[in-house]
Symmetry: C2
Subunit: 308 residues, 2 copies
C-alpha cells in the first residue's frame, strides 16, 4: 500500500464531492450557498475524512461507501473555522492564504454560512443513500457521535475555554499558574481539536458496525492523535515561524497559552512523543485489515513530525 | 378539551425539561452552559413544541413521549434567535424584556452558545430513550426533517434573504419593485418562519409513524400556519405599536420589507386570512384524534388574531 497515494486519493474524493453536497440543498439562497462553497473549497488536509475512511476500511468496506459522512464531518470542521475566524472570535483575515469568509461575504453571511454548514452536515449524513452493509442504526450512531463531539460536551466547549485562556500568560508564570495553565490547556486541546478527530475515527467504526472493543481502541487512538496533532501545531507556531521569519510565532506574540509557552519547545515535543506512543499502542489493539491500520499509523507519525 | 389548559401544559412541560437538557451535556464549559440556559429560559410561547406534541397526539400517542424532540426543536429556534440578535445581524439589545445573550455574555460566547444549541439539538433528539412505539427510523426521519428545515434549504436561507431585503423600501416603490418585494418577502417568510413551524408538525407526524397522506396534509397546515403567523407579526408591528406608542412600528421605521408596508394593513390582513383558510382546509384532510386537531385549529386561529 502506497500511503501517500492513499492519502491523496482520500482528499481528492472529498474535494470533488463537496461542491455537489451544497448544490444538493435545494432552495438555498444563492449567495449563502456561494459563501458555504467558498469555505468548503479552501482545501486543507481533509484529515478528518481521511481518518474516517481508513477507520471504516479496517472493518472490510471501502472508504467510498461513506463519502457523505466524510463530507458531513468536513462541513462541521469548516463551520468551526468560519466562526473561529470571525471578528468577535480570533478575528483572522486570512486562512490558508485566502481571505476568510467574513472578509469576502461580510460578517452576517459568514455567521449564517457557518450555521448552515453545521446544520446541513446532519442533512448530508442522515439523507444519503448508503450501501446495504451500512445499516440505518449505524448512520444514527454516527450522527449521535458527530453531535456529541461537536457540541457543548465537545468542540464548542473547547472554543469557549480558548476564549477564557486569552491573555493567560500576561503576568508572572508562578508554579501554581503553570499548573492551572496545563489543566486549562489540556481541556482546550481535548475538546477544541481532539474531539472532532476522535469523532472521525469513531464515525468510521460506527458506520462499519465495528465491535465495541475495536471501537473503543480506535476512539483512544483518535483522542491521543488529536492531542498530539495540536501540540505539534503549538510547536510549529514557535519553531516554524522562527525559522521562516526570524521571530517567534503569533501565538507566542499573543501570549497565548500553548504547550510550548508552558513547557518550552523541548518539553512540548516530549509530551507530543508520549501522545504519539499512546495513540499507536491503542491502534495496535484494533483487530482488522492491516492496510488501513498502516495508513492510520502513518498519519499519526505525520501528525507528530509535520512541518505545516 | 380545554384548549388554554392544553397549551399551558405543553409550555410547562418544555419549560421544566429544558434546563435538564443542558445539564445532561457532560463536560460542557460552565459559562457556555450558563449562556445556553440563559437563552433557553427566556420563555416565549413554546409554539413549536406545542405544535409537535399536538401533531403527534393526533396519531394516538401522548405528547410527553416526544418531549426530547420538542426540546430539540426549541433549541434550534433559540439558537436562531441568539444569532439573529447579534450585532452583525439585527443588533438587538433586548428580547422579551431581557438583555439579549451577547449583551450578557459577550459576542463570542453568544456565537458559541448558538452553535452549541444547534448542535446539541441533534444530540438531544438522537440520544434520548423513547417509548417502544417510537421506532429508531421515526427518530431518524425526524432528525432529517429538523436538519433540512433548519439548514440552507430552509431557515438559514430565510435569514440570508432577510439581510438582502434590508433597506428595500428606501426609494420609490414602483409596481415592478412591489412585485419583486412580494416575491422576496414570500421567500423570506417561507424559510425564516414557516420552515421551522412546518418542521414542528412534520416531526410530530414522523415520530408517530403517520401515513404519508396525513403527513403531507399536516405539512401543508404547518406551512400556511407559519406564513399566517409571520404576516400577523408584520401587522402587529404596525398596528400594535401604533396603538401603544402612537407611532409606527420598528419595521416600518427601518423601512423593512413587510406585507404591511407593501400591501397596507388591510391588504396584509386579507392575505393572512387566506393563509388561515388554507391552513384549516389542510388540517381537515388529516384523519385521526379530534382533540389534538381541535388544539391545532385553535392555535391557528390564535396565530391569526394574536395581539402579542
Amino acid at each position: 500500500m502506497d500511503i501517500v497515494k492513499y492519502i491523496q486519493a482520500a482528499a481528492a474524493r472529498v474535494d470533488s464531492a463537496l461542491p455537489g453536497v451544497v448544490r444538493g440543498l435545494h432552495g438555498a439562497h444563492p449567495r449563502l450557498a456561494e459563501s458555504m462553497e467558498y469555505s468548503l473549497a479552501a482545501g486543507g488536509k481533509r484529515l478528518r475524512p481521511l481518518l474516517m475512511g481508513a477507520s471504516y476500511e479496517i472493518f472490510g468496506g471501502k472508504a467510498r461507501d461513506i463519502l457523505p459522512a466524510a463530507c458531513a464531518l468536513e462541513m462541521v470542521h469548516t463551520y468551526s473555522l468560519v466562526h473561529d475566524d470571525l471578528p468577535a472570535m480570533d478575528d483572522d483575515g486570512l486562512r490558508r492564504g485566502r481571505p476568510t469568509n467574513h472578509k469576502v461575504y461580510g460578517e452576517a453571511l459568514a455567521i449564517l454560512a457557518g450555521d448552515a454548514l453545521l446544520t446541513d452536515a446532519f442533512t448530508v449524513l442522515l439523507s444519503a443513500r448508503y450501501a446495504r452493509r451500512i445499516k440505518p442504526e449505524y448512520v444514527m450512531a454516527a450522527a449521535r457521535i458527530m453531535a456529541r463531539r461537536a457540541g457543548a460536551g465537545g468542540m464548542v466547549s473547547g472554543q469557549a475555554a480558548d476564549l477564557e485562556a486569552e491573555g493567560f500568560l500576561r503576568g508572572t508564570l508562578t508554579p501554581a499558574r503553570r499548573r492551572r495553565g496545563l489543566e486549562l490547556l489540556s481541556y482546550i486541546h481535548l475538546h477544541k481539536t481532539a474531539d472532532l478527530i476522535t469523532a472521525a475515527v469513531e464515525m468510521g467504526a460506527a458506520l462499519a458496525g465495528a465491535p465495541g472493543k475495536d471501537f473503543n481502541a480506535l476512539s483512544g487512538f483518535g483522542r491521543e492523535l488529536g492531542l498530539c496533532f495540536q501540540v505539534a501545531d503549538d510547536i510549529l507556531d514557535v519553531v516554524g515561524d522562527k525559522k521562516k521569519l526570524g521571530k517567534s510565532g503569533s501565538d507566542a506574540r499573543n501570549k497565548k497559552l500553548t504547550y510550548a509557552s508552558l513547557l518550552g519547545v523541548q518539553g512540548a515535543r516530549r509530551e507530543a512523543g508520549e501522545m504519539l506512543g499512546r495513540a499507536l499502542a491503542s491502534l495496535r489493539r484494533v483487530s482488522g485489515a492491516p492496510g488501513p491500520k498502516a495508513a492510520l499509523e502513518a498519519i499519526a507519525e505525520f501528525a507528530y513530525r509535520r512541518e505545516n
